[in-house]
Amino acid sequence: MTGRQTALYVFRKVFELIATLLLVSLFTFLAFSVIPGDTARIMLGANATEEQVEALRTDLGLDKPLAVRYITWLGGAFTGDLGNSTQFRTGVAGLIASRLPVTLGMSILAFIMIVAISYPLAILSSRRPGKLADQICSVLGHVLFAIPPFVLSLLLILIFGSILKNFTIGNYVAPNVDFGIYLQSLLLPAFAIALPKIAMTFKFLRSSIIEQKASDYVATAKSHGLSDIKIMFRHILPNSNVSSITIISLVLSDILGGSLIVEQVFNLPGLGRLLLSAISQRDFPLLSGIVFYLALVTVLLYFAADIFSSLSDPRIRLS
């Protein structure tokens, strides 16, 4: 790719990113405006008078037409101001930032687990497809894949929290207080998120490795005297990664979705709980802020995966 082409490519991607975020914000806004319930009424409680509610509505700008409200909010978002949460009365950006360590930490831990477990299993399983080790891995994979994360969470709590008692469930400590306990508190929830994704990644990697194993360049490498292990790491894995990157980016964005539910079960103060309270309290600025943020992360992930996979394949990079 020439410099000009690269610039055009990046430009197109950034354009896509902005378009996606605009659409996401519009849909969030519309969805929020059709669900029943009134922000001002919820904030003031059932005892407030009609005048008080009306005054607050004017104060919050809720009396203006939908389009005007959306454009006002969008203008704020462009300048980095996501507005104030109506329920916490503080800045949305600050709220998200304070909850981020939980969700982000959990996602990263889960991702590490997925890579660290599914790769070795896939390599092991693809050594002799159809043999015992492979069959055990495959059946286990199907089972794990079929169980939803929140059920897995409950099972894990039951096993590690109630029976083995080597984990205290629900005692979250911020990373700047005690990093060790912080990690420990995120370990089980991350595992609950990771397990079904491990099954999925494993299944994909396994078939991709088996496919690569049959290719001609592997025969060439063998005829050059390379050992099976060298062939696996030098040839098979890099080639199967080219196709796996897309799947892994899908898994990553899925982790975020999974974490929202698992946080509830493990009683962790993460983004997921913030999101739920924003919905139940009709806290639009907060809700749109979180959704906006999640969309941004997802789009950036896909963007990174795109760049990464085209960089790792010279056939794409140099065409």
Partner: protein
Amino acid sequence: MARHIHVVKVHHLTLSFPTRKDPNPKPVLDDVDFGIRDGEILGLIGNSGSGKTMTSLAIAGLLPEGARITGGSIKFQGEDLLTMDPKARRKMLGSDIGMIFQEPSTALDPLMKVGKNLDEVLVVHGIKDPKQRRESIIKMMSTVGFVNPEEIYERYPHQLSGGQRQRVLIAGAALLAPKLLICDEPTSSLDTVTTVQILDLLKDLCRKLHMTILFISHDLSAVRNFCDRVMVMKDGKIIDKDTTSDILNNPKNAYTAELLTSARLDPRMLGIERAHVDYSSSPVLTAKGITAGYRDRGFGKSFENKVLKGVDLEIYPHEILGLIGSSGCGKTTLIRSLLGLLPHTGTATVSGKRTGAVFQDPVSCLNPAHTVKWHLNEALRVYEKKLTNEERMAKIIAALEEAGLNEDFLLRKPHQLSGGQRQRVAIAMCLIMNPGLIIADEPFSSLDASSSAEILKLLTDINRERGTSFLLVTHNIHIIRQIAPRVVVMHDGKICESGLTNEVLSNPKAPATIRLLDAETKLHGA
């Protein structure tokens, strides 16, 4: 080490694939006994499935999982390979035994530069100094005929042509000057011109590096000017071995004689009769100004790499039109455009009946999950929607029988068929829709000599009996000479010469045609 007359001595080797259900299956190699003499080029020929590749893999120690050697021994320069430590045996690959394979296009790791692909041979065999490795790779690359080895070193495999890739692979196999070089069909996916170049190169290397070559091929003509001795395999046995000239000119074994006859593709021997073509009737296919290429889509400007630059073509009823040209001249792009599989400009008008297609590789043309019946039904469903089940079955069986198969094949899946049988299924799928024209793209090149002869006979029978026209794309000029009354030669996206086959091939005018015929003469003899 003592000097041995035989580099490799295979002694009564028997090999099979036992399973739990069948612990004593029919052996794949049955009492194979031969030696490869120091410095010779030994040809190993035979039809697909005769055990040629298994023999070579047994020598290299790369047998597929499940293969069991039940008897015999293999000695490499006096050392018993079968009792050797597996690690030591693996170390011999690349340093003592080199291998090159059939398909150069996929035999290099696409993610690695050419140089890196070769570098690993030296790394594995303990050459630590990167500068020294690079030097010897570049030196070997110029030995295999690259004028710009430094440039090739930095390229990726997809930036090279098939012939260039095969050179790179030969360089890799020859880097450490192994005593034995096993070549498994090294030229069967290359065009005639490149084949001749590669064979010349191998012969040259053999002399320069004092290598011994085991040359496996189903192309008997490639063996003619290349090998010193030839062995013939059938059903896992070596049934004939002799000097090349004795085998090819004076075969004593009946099966060898039969193989040679099929390889010669003699129309009289095969009972091929040409159909009469009436050139005054209106053509079944008229193509005008076909232009096609690959578009590079940028953000703004789009530019096109033209592969076809305005091709005009007419095919008449009952005619077999031959289309020849070296790889990359646009043959495949042309037929894909004619079939409507590629976007193109220009017009291709087909009069009356439908157009069928038969492709080079019958393996990837059939869906491995489905039966022969399913495939035929699928082809039928597109064209004949209102048929009862009985009518459907009758048509399917009729097409199968016309293609030389029978009802027994209905429920078989592609992997239960031989290459020739798969190609017959592909032809039956064409026949069932009653085409006026069949476009056949290298239908023989993946088949062995016997199957090629059978398929050739089948195609000419269809041509004569049904009056179906053919556009036959092949790099086998010999076949064109035998069955196609008219020929078209392509070069660089254009038709550079066309006319009656006899005239074009005996008095070629375009340089591209002359090059093709020169290579043909060199390969097959006058």
